[in-house]
């Protein structure tokens, strides 16, 4: 087990390093000079050169690369082209907003999904099972942003039960502190995106768990449990479902990664001020330091999430041997 953790940590470090190098070169390829919003081509060429020297852009590439690595390691993400503020200050609140939406909804989606999937697999052939599978497939097929828009159209615009977006009413919390996350306005605004995202993420674990259950039910030990005379409920949850969890658990890292990457979409639909929306806004404004930092943060979250989920899998399955 320790070997597994060590190996995964090492792998994580390599992935992180490769990611940062990739990003360094990727963002150098973006159109325009990094200083283009500060340095105008109408300026005296000597002034331009002086500004570039000030930003360290005349240093050799290797030096810039090392400086970049060091500053990112200390969470110094530079200054925004747009607001001239420190990027790291902008990110903190946004990071929390993204996590507070995505993480709970993934947990609920997987918990509910495995439960429903287990029931669907067990009661295969009944009408509700067939209907549920069709529904899950349809939900999986519908694009998330469209479902979100329909939800807003119906529950917010038409029925007026929920606000159509944002995290709190504009102006309600001019200086957001952690108190904002406990306020009723916050929960009122969280409700719709949370439900939409959870419902969307629900279908995959449900269908997967159902497939896994169908495989497990054919196993001998389930038959044996029946012969022993155990109650139906006990066999369902205690034996069949429990052993069907593994394939579903292996997908958690991947799906968590997708959910974090896909935060861009749901935050755009609901104007939810998270990392994804910040990245989209920054790309539009060519605010490259912010784009780079948000991309980095989303990637870090994905890598950490993958790592945590892999550890969980190592705990769930004692047989694991890393390959």
């Amino acid at each position: 087990m320790q070997r597994y953790i060590l190996h995964r940590t090492w792998q994580m470090a390599i992935t992180l390093f490769a990611l940062m190098t990739l990003m360094f070169f990727l963002f150098r390829l973006l159109p325009g000079d990094p200083t283009m919003t500060v340095v105008s081509s109408a300026m005296d060429p000597r002034a331009q050169a002086a500004m570039r020297a000030q930003f360290g852009l005349d240093r050799p590439l290797l030096e810039q690369y090392l400086a970049y690595l060091v500053s990112y390691a200390t969470f110094d993400f530079g200054y925004s082209f747009h607001s001239s503020g420190r990027v790291s200050d902008m990110l903190a609140g946004r990071l929390v907003n993204t996590l507070v939406l995505i993480l709970p909804s993934m947990i609920v989606a997987y918990a509910l999904g495995t439960l429903i999937g287990a029931l669907l697999g067990w009661y295969r052939g009944r009408r509700f099972e067939i209907a549920a599978v069709l529904l899950a497939t349809a939900v999986q097929a519908a694009p998330l942003f469209w479902v979100g828009m329909l939800a807003i159209l119906f529950f917010s615009i038409h029925l007026g039960w929920f606000p159509p977006g944002h995290i709190v009413p504009p102006g309600a919390f001019p200086d957001p502190t952690w108190r904002m996350y406990l306020s009723p306005e916050f929960f009122h605004h969280l409700a719709l995106p949370f439900v939409v995202h959870t419902a969307y993420q629900l279908s995959y674990p449900t269908l997967l768990m159902r497939s896994s259950m169908l495989n497990t039910i054919g196993e001998d030990f389930v038959e044996f449990a029946r012969i022993k005379g155990l109650r139906e409920r006990r066999i369902l949850f205690g034996h069949a479902a429990r052993n069907s969890l593994l394939p579903v658990a292996t997908t958690i890292p991947m799906i968590l990664g997708w959910a974090l990457a896909g935060s861009v979409v749901i935050e755009t639909v609901f104007s939810w001020p998270g990392l994804g929306l910040l990245m989209i806004e920054a790309v539009q404004r060519s605010d490259y330091p912010v784009v780079q930092a948000t991309f980095f943060l989303i990637a870090i979250l994905t890598i950490l999430g993958t790592f945590a989920a892999d550890l969980l899998y190592g705990v769930l399955d004692p047989r694991i041997v890393y390959d």
Binding site: Q11, I14, T15, L16, A18, L19, L22, L26, F27, L29, L30, P31, G125, L134, T137, A138, Q140, A141, A142, P143, L144, F145, W146, V147, M149, L150, I152, L153, I157, P164, S211, L214, N215, G218, G257, W258, L260, A261, G262, V264, V265, T268, G276, M279, I280, V283, V291, T294, F295, I298, A299, T302, I303, T306
Partner: protein
């Protein structure tokens, strides 16, 4: 190409498979012939009596109404079908071509080649896809080819991994050893004997890749990073979003989503119907 025939026969066995296949074929026909039959051009602003027909509700002249710029939504839907099918099929073919070959070679030869190929794929594990694609599109400009290329690049890993696992178990089977005893070389064994047996699972993976590709391309279009020279279902919704009309013009926003949902569902149904044949435990008793 007997596996194509086998594929279609297997899918047609179940009701959901048949429905999926026919719906998919329908969309294929729309993709091919739709733009020819479209009443208007997708970016054409329609005037009536000298006035722009803005945000018109569905009517006889405009079956799905018009956008805030006076464009016919129904025509845009027809052109969008072509884009969705092109992107979906191109990505599926790309994923199949690369994933199958990498999976076969990595699984069969094993050792160093296997390790290197799997490590290459793992490096990209931490990269969040949509943000990455947005940055790439900001660099290279927004084009359909870039999108297809990037999606294939991400998706082939999953296919290769599944196929590699399958090859590892087929490799041990007697008929492979038999082929080798009769003097067949490595590549002959690989492509004549092993490949036909991994086709079923490869096909299931291909359907998943196609479904994912269509949805992802729509998401990119929705975020405003689709190819500006073509109409796609995602970009139709984006236009409504950009005009802030999405809650006042439901005829503009609802049809593209339904189209995506129906097309992707049909692909899923086909994949699942086929999977029932591949995995006997899932078959209906």
């Amino acid at each position: 190409m007997s596996w194509i025939v086998q594929f279609i026969t297997a899918v047609r066995r179940t009701a959901s498979g048949r429905i999926g296949l026919y719906v998919f074929a329908f969309f294929g026909l729309v993709a091919i012939f739709g733009p020819m039959l479209a009443p208007y051009e997708p970016f054409e602003r329609v005037y009536h009596d000298g006035r722009l027909v803005r945000l018109a509700s569905p009517s006889a002249q405009h079956w799905l109404g018009t956008t805030s710029l006076g464009r016919d939504v129904f025509s845009q839907m027809l052109y969008g079908a072509r884009q969705a099918m092109i992107v979906g099929c191109a990505t599926a073919i790309g994923v199949a071509a690369i994933g199958v070959n990498v999976g076969l070679i990595a699984g069969y030869f094993g050792g160093r080649i296997d390790a290197v190929m799997m490590r290459i794929t793992d490096i990209f594990l931490g990269v969040p896809f949509l943000p990455f694609l947005i940055v790439v599109l900001a660099i290279t400009g927004r084009s359909t080819t870039t999108i297809i290329f990037a999606m294939t690049l991400i998706m082939w890993r999953a296919a290769a991994r599944v196929i590699r696992a399958q090859v590892l178990s087929i490799k041990q089977m007697p008929f492979v050893a038999a082929a080798r005893t009769t003097g067949a070389g490595d590549f002959t064994v690989l492509y004549r004997e092993i490949a036909p047996n991994i086709m079923p699972i490869a096909l299931v993976n291909v359907t998943l890749a196609m479904a994912w590709a269509i949805i992802t391309e729509a998401s990119i279009g929705f975020l405003g990073y689709g190819d500006p020279s073509v109409t796609s279902w995602g970009s139709i919704i984006h236009a409504a979003y950009a005009a802030q009309m999405m809650y006042r013009a439901p005829w503009w926003v609802i049809p593209p989503g339904i189209a995506i949902m129906v097309l992707v569902s049909s692909v899923y149904f086909v994949g699942r119907a086929y999977e029932h044949v591949v995995n006997p435990r899932l078959a209906v008793q």
